[in-house]
């Protein structure tokens, strides 16, 4: 007898049971219904009204997305066109951008941030007329110009940015009788005391985005930089960087615990939410999430203004903007929408809907009441003038994106705090940057 593991003894076809009849008729019915459904979903072959489409990431604050949808609809009524606002998960936006750029077709307006503007610069239409005009009226913060003014003109229209502030647990600071820090050095000294009391400070030194953002921030405050303003000359190997790394090492040893070496982006959230942490560097999402979920810890969380270093005060952030694809069929319509969005009452309504989480790129809206309503958020707009793009003083280019994808900055700091001499850590980063430079620029 053969060992047949696939088919058992051959049986004659089973008689038509009720079950099989039911199954086949359901299948037939569903099939025709399905094809009909598909047909309905296919866009018509000939265009009727124009449709203006926009793509953005799903905002942390859903009401912000809702408000933008509403604004688009109002605009559509006025301009006599249909509108559509699509949102996807933040990690999926680059994938969609890549697909649309490759296919040379897609949405009209796209949410672009930091390096993506530079990356897709060849496919983005010039928005000088819109942005220069709004700049005259509202004054754009310098960080946005540095990020979105690419190769001679505005390729992306500024939209918002996220403020990374000192998020601290007021209870611990009060118990230690400490006043709020104004410089990174102040924080270091406070951190020594706080760690002794079992409430350490936390900044990620690991392969996550928070680590890159926070440590770049500190680095700028110490006058160190990765590249020169030309974006190509590697400038990481310098006395300022050495000073910065020395500070980082002391800061870590005295004020933090080893857990930061394995944090992900939610690590600092965890530290504060558990009640143990005393200070982290994060957007106000921790506080807002606690407030919305009605968690008891929300009473202890508060924020303070950005810290300065020997070279001044800077703020690292993600600058978000809206670009218009060059291959869009509705470029003028899209620009009209941007002008509509930038009208004072409209932009203000969006800022309000974002509940203060999205910061305005314009000085004009610094006094918006959304930040006055909750005293813990009042300081946020003050960060505006200090933001700089990733890779500053160079532009946020593909070089920078590739460096960040390899988490060079956090790795350099991890080496320094882990015992590698500062000079070696700097040289390591320089070598890695050179390797990447050869491939990307």
């Amino acid at each position: 007898m053969s060992i047949d593991a696939r088919v058992g003894p051959i049986v004659p076809p089973a008689p038509l049971t009720r079950r099989r009849f039911l199954a086949s008729s359901i299948a037939a019915g569903a099939g025709t219904a399905g094809l009909g459904w598909l047909a309905e979903r296919t866009p018509p072959a000939f265009a009727q009204r124009r449709t203006l489409t926009a793509l953005a990431l799903s905002l942390f604050v859903p009401s912000g997305d809702e408000q933008l949808t509403q604004l688009m609809q109002e605009f559509g009524k006025q301009a006599g066109c249909d509108v559509r606002f699509d949102t996807v998960k933040v990690t999926d936006v680059p994938v969609k951008l890549a697909a649309e750029a490759t296919a040379q077709a897609g949405h009209d307006l796209v949410n672009v941030w930091e390096a993506f503007g530079y990356l897709h610069r060849q496919n983005l239409a010039s928005l000088d007329d819109v942005v220069e005009d709004v700049g005259r009226r509202y004054e754009v913060y310098p960080g946005h110009r540095a990020t979105f003014h690419i190769e001679g003109n505005w390729k992306v229209a500024p939209w918002y940015w996220l403020s990374f502030v000192g998020t601290y647990n007021a209870k611990h600071w009060k118990a230690a009788n400490l006043s709020l820090p104004k410089t990174w050095d102040d924080l270091h000294r406070a951190g020594i005391e706080l760690k002794k009391r079992g409430a350490p400070v936390g900044i990620a030194i690991s392969n996550c985005t928070d680590a890159i953002l926070s440590w770049r921030n500190v680095m700028w405050c110490y006058g160190a930089k990765e590249v020169e303003p030309d974006g190509k000359t590697i400038a990481i190997n310098s006395p300022k960087t050495a000073e910065f790394l020395e500070f980082a090492r002391r800061f870590y040893q005295d004020a933090m615990t080893a857990e930061v070496l394995s944090w992900d982006d939610a690590g600092n959230n965890r530290l504060i939410l558990s009640g143990k942490g005393s200070w982290v560097h994060n957007p106000v999402s921790i506080y807002l999430a606690a407030r919305d979920k009605d968690l008891p810890i929300m009473a202890e969380i508060d924020h303070h203004e950005g810290l300065a270093g020997p070279a001044g005060r800077y703020a690292a952030t993600f600058h978000h903007g809206i670009g218009v694809w060059k291959f869009s069929k509705n470029i003028d319509l899209a620009k009209d929408f941007l002008r509509f969005l930038y009208r004072e009452e409209n932009f203000a309504s969006w800022v309000a809907a974002a509940k203060g989480f999205c910061m305005s790129p314009f000085k004009r809206f610094e006094a918006h009441e959304v930040w006055k309503k909750d005293p813990k958020l009042t300081l946020l707009p003050k960060e505006g003038p200090y933001t700089r793009p990733q890779g500053w003083p160079g532009s946020p280019t593909q070089f920078i994106a590739a460096m960040d994808a390899k988490y060079l900055i956090p790795n350099m700091i991890a080496k320094a705090v882990g015992g590698t001499p500062v000079k070696e850590a700097m040289l390591w980063m320089e070598r890695e940057m050179q390797k990447i430079f050869k491939e990307t620029v």
Partner: protein, 284 residues
């Protein structure tokens, strides 16, 4: 099975069931946990003092409510159903022909054709989807479910062909030979003799195809942007992951309801699935 003494049989009975327990725990706990999470309130979900194994603050339908009424979830479900069903039917039909051809017919380049089919399956979607985007665009199918229906067979067909090929190959040729001698054409043999016997394998291929299509993520993300045209897998992620915050209650609710149609299909066709996957005579 060879008979054993009565006392020994009882002993083994207990041992067997005990041995099953860790496996069942491992297999079923995540599912239980997902379902549980879908019914918990946010406050309890994020309370570190709460016991995660049961519900303390009362069963909450809030997440389901939000999903069904504040998002396009119902639409997404139907979209997924339609796309998966149509893609499955098309792919399995083609695969049956391809597999039968590979198993029975002798034509030049048969070996290389077979290999080519499997190679296309091995090329990962992460590589293919950018060029495919251009193709889909040129056909004017962006944002339409047709884009998915036409691209899914690219990975469904190779897989189903493989599955059915193994199945067809083991069906004894004798029964076909008889029919051929009687004057039945090749296609006739396929439809009247082979298919009825191969029903378990075909149903199995259909179920696999349906699940793979339902589960597909990358193409759905790339080709579809409009919310009403989304499928369940990308719709839930887009709505429930905001910024870098995951709304777990909603995600689990979406996952549970999103998996339900597929699970129901398996329950309905369980016998077919098991026999098709394996052998015709499973003791039970």
């Amino acid at each position: 099975m060879p008979s054993v003494r009565r006392g020994g049989a009882v002993r083994w009975f207990v041992v067997d069931h005990l041995g099953l327990v860790p496996f069942l725990l491992f297999i079923l706990f995540p599912i239980y946990f997902m379902v549980l999470t879908a019914f918990k309130t946010d406050r309890e979900l994020y309370d570190l003092q709460a016991v995660p194994f049961w519900i303390r603050d009362g069963v909450s339908l809030g997440h389901f409510h939000h999903l069904l009424f504040k998002t396009n979830f119902a639409r997404w479900l139907v979209n997924s159903l339609v796309v998966s069903a149509v893609a499955m039917i098309a792919s399995v039909a083609i695969s049956i022909l391809a597999a039968y051809g590979l198993a029975r017919l002798r034509f030049p380049g048969r070996q290389s054709f077979g290999i080519a089919v499997f190679i296309t399956y091995l090329v990962p979607p992460t590589l293919l989807f950018l060029p495919l985007t251009q193709v889909v665009n040129r056909l004017g199918l962006i944002d339409s479910l047709w884009a998915l229906v036409l691209t899914y067979p690219t990975f469904l067909i190779p897989f189903c062909t493989w599955l059915l090929l193994g199945y067809f190959k083991v069906i004894p040729r004798e029964i076909e030979e008889c029919a051929l001698v009687d004057g039945c054409g090749r296609l006739g043999v396929l439809f009247r003799i082979v298919l009825p016997v191969a029903v378990p394998g075909i149903v199995c291929a259909m179920l696999f195809a349906f699940t793979l299509a339902w589960n597909e993520f990358l193409y759905a993300l790339t080709f579809i942007s409009a919310s009403v045209v989304k499928t369940v897998t990308i719709g839930v992620a887009a709505e429930m992951v905001r910024g870098d915050v995951f709304h777990w209650g909603g995600i689990m609710a979406g996952a549970v309801v999103g998996a339900l149609p597929v699970v129901l299909m398996y329950v309905f066709f369980l016998d077919y699935y098991v026999t098709g996957l394996t052998a015709g005579s499973v003791k039970g």
